[in-house]
């Protein structure tokens, strides 16, 4: 029964035969995968295996890298992201939260309002409303509601990361990419963000890169294990951790290497 509902979920992102090169170096080899909506998909694997590279392909952040090259096809709702979408529109749909919190050097309010302002929203009331909603959605509203004019840099690391999530949410994305969003945070902030992810998946499609096996186990519906540029295994999180098909996956999730 549960399996049935899972299968009914729509495929948001489809990756077909993706190869990625940085100059001569091949970073990803023949990746094929589907990412479904209202699910959390986790990317795990040892350092340098290409998790961030794949994540950054999904919102074309790799276009900033001068010698980046890819072949294959990535579609969002069936449309090729490299052809059909204007790059800025794509990034509005596919938001990103970085490993290191990167709030802008401006007030908390202006950080959140930045994205909506870029999309052309100028109305003060409307902006106020978006700022409040986004901060609430990222469960940081209570921490900052009296200090919206304060510099975002004065917040703690965990608060900054939640602010960055709020900032990403403020542009109303459909997919949210998170690259090790809790690796710089203490356990309490980490827990807050994990809870947040589980709430957010009701509305968004979430892809999260993590080095924390427990985190993947706790929050991810699907898990993908990468090893030296290859997608070794991809499936229900439960299966990846309990009954991995591949030996490498087994060794990795048991903490034997990586």
């Amino acid at each position: 029964m549960e399996n049935l509902t899972q299968e009914n979920k729509n495929i948001r992102i489809n990756i077909e035969d993706l190869n990625v090169y940085y100059g001569q170096k091949k970073a990803l080899n023949a990746i094929n995968m589907e990412i479904k909506e209202n699910e959390i998909t986790a990317f795990i694997g040892p350092s340098g295996c290409g998790k961030s590279t794949l994540l950054k392909c999904l919102n074309r952040m790799n276009d900033l890298v001068p010698d980046f090259n890819m072949s294959g096809k990535i579609t969002l709702d069936g449309e090729d992201i490299n052809k059909k979408y204007n790059i800025n529109d794509l990034r509005k749909k596919v938001g990103m939260v970085f490993q290191k919190p990167n709030p802008f050097e401006m007030s908390i309010y202006d950080n959140i309002a930045f994205g909506p302002r870029v999309t052309g929203i100028k109305n003060k009331d409307e902006l106020d409303k978006i700022v409040e909603e986004s901060l609430k959605a990222a469960s940081i509203w209570n921490d900052v509601k009296d200090n919206l004019k304060k510099s975002a840099l004065a917040l703690s690391g965990g608060q900054q990361q939640r602010l960055c999530i709020a900032r990403a949410i403020a542009v109303k994305p459909e997919v949210l990419l998170m690259d090790e969003p809790t690796s710089a945070l203490d356990p309490i902030s980490t827990e807050a963000i994990e809870r947040l992810c589980e709430e957010l998946k009701e509305k968004y499609t979430i892809v999260i890169v993590t080095h924390n096996m427990q985190q993947a186990k706790r929050i991810a519906d699907k898990t993908a294990f990468f090893y030296i540029g290859e997608l070794v295994e991809f499936g229900e999180t439960h299966d990846i951790f309990k009954n991995p098909k591949e030996k490498a996956t087994h060794r990795y999730v048991k903490g034997k290497f990586g």
Partner: protein, 288 residues
């Protein structure tokens, strides 16, 4: 044993650093002492009010009012900043975020070269190009406040460009990535996120530019006309504080000479006030 402790490498290094720092401090103190012991008595003798706000500078009649020169210095400097700061900051932005690699390799050495050109050469450029240009465009003989402002605006460019550029480059790349990840265009990301983050460095570049402009002498003497009268029209000539000193110092004696040193005191205090003002603005901004 004692000697070993005193002579260990760390202590020697510390001593050298300390000595170097003290040399700089000592220079500033010596300059202050010289300026104030030599410059304050004549100001007192002339009368502070008559000196600062006197509108006539006529040493032959014992009139030593420097208001015309102070105003000329302020006007030319403001003019230089109005012209030089936007061009300089935009150039720095271009160099750090818009310039293709090959063009950067051409432009950057040129900017560095600009910084090394002696001011007398700028002066010649001003006389040969700017003076006729201003004369042609606005009438008059072309030696004017405006001419000096344009020339100073050009002269402060390398300072503003290089200091701003390093400020813009040191603004974290992660801000830029954060902005484009929200769907902001390259231009918006640079102007709305990177430049504000580089704000304090950019302000510093402008302060340095102001310092350079208000202190510049040779080039200004060559294009400003140097009339010691209250400037009322930017297309007319004017004499700055620095020009006043360099023009008259050679033949000045007694009170006249002392009054020129007093002029230097005013210049010094002016620069001090500007620096203070900006650091106040800067710290205030940070605390909001």
């Amino acid at each position: 044993m004692m000697l070993k402790i005193i002579l260990n490498k760390e202590n020697i290094a510390r001593f050298i650093f300390l000595a170097a720092a003290y040399v700089a401090v000592a220079c500033v103190i010596l300059i202050c002492v010289f300026l104030f012991t030599q410059g304050v008595p004549p100001i007192a003798k002339i009368g502070l009010g008559d000196f600062l706000f006197g509108e006539k500078w006529k040493p032959s009649q014992n009139l030593y009012g420097i208001l015309p020169m102070t105003l000329a210095s302020i006007y030319t400097t403001v003019g230089a900043i109005v012209i030089g700061a936007p061009i300089g900051i935009l150039t720095a932005t271009f160099l750090s975020y818009f310039c293709p690699q090959w063009l950067y390799k051409v432009l950057k050495p040129m900017v560095n070269l600009m910084a090394g050109i002696p001011s007398i050469v700028y002066g010649f450029f001003g006389m040969a190009v700017l003076v006729p240009f201003v004369s042609y465009t606005f009438g008059g003989n072309g030696k004017a406040l405006l001419t000096a402002s344009i020339l100073l605006g050009v002269m402060i460019l390398p300072t503003i460009i290089s200091v701003s550029e390093s400020a813009i480059r040191s603004a974290q790349k992660s801000y830029y990535e954060g902005a484009v990840a929200l769907g902001a265009s390259h231009e918006i990301s640079v102007f709305k996120v990177i430049l504000p983050a580089a704000k304090s460095g950019i302000i510093s570049s402008v302060i340095l530019g102001i310092g350079r402009a208000i202190g510049e002498t040779m080039a200004v003497v060559m294009v400003a006309g140097n009339q010691a009268i209250i400037p009322t029209d930017i297309t007319r000539g004017a004499r700055t504080l620095t020009s006043n000193i360099v023009i008259e110092m050679a033949e000045a004696t007694d009170l006249h000479r002392a009054a020129l040193i007093g002029t230097a005191v005013v210049l010094f205090v002016l620069v001090l006030i500007i620096n203070l003002l900006f650091s106040v603005i800067k710290t205030r901004r940070k605390h909001v």
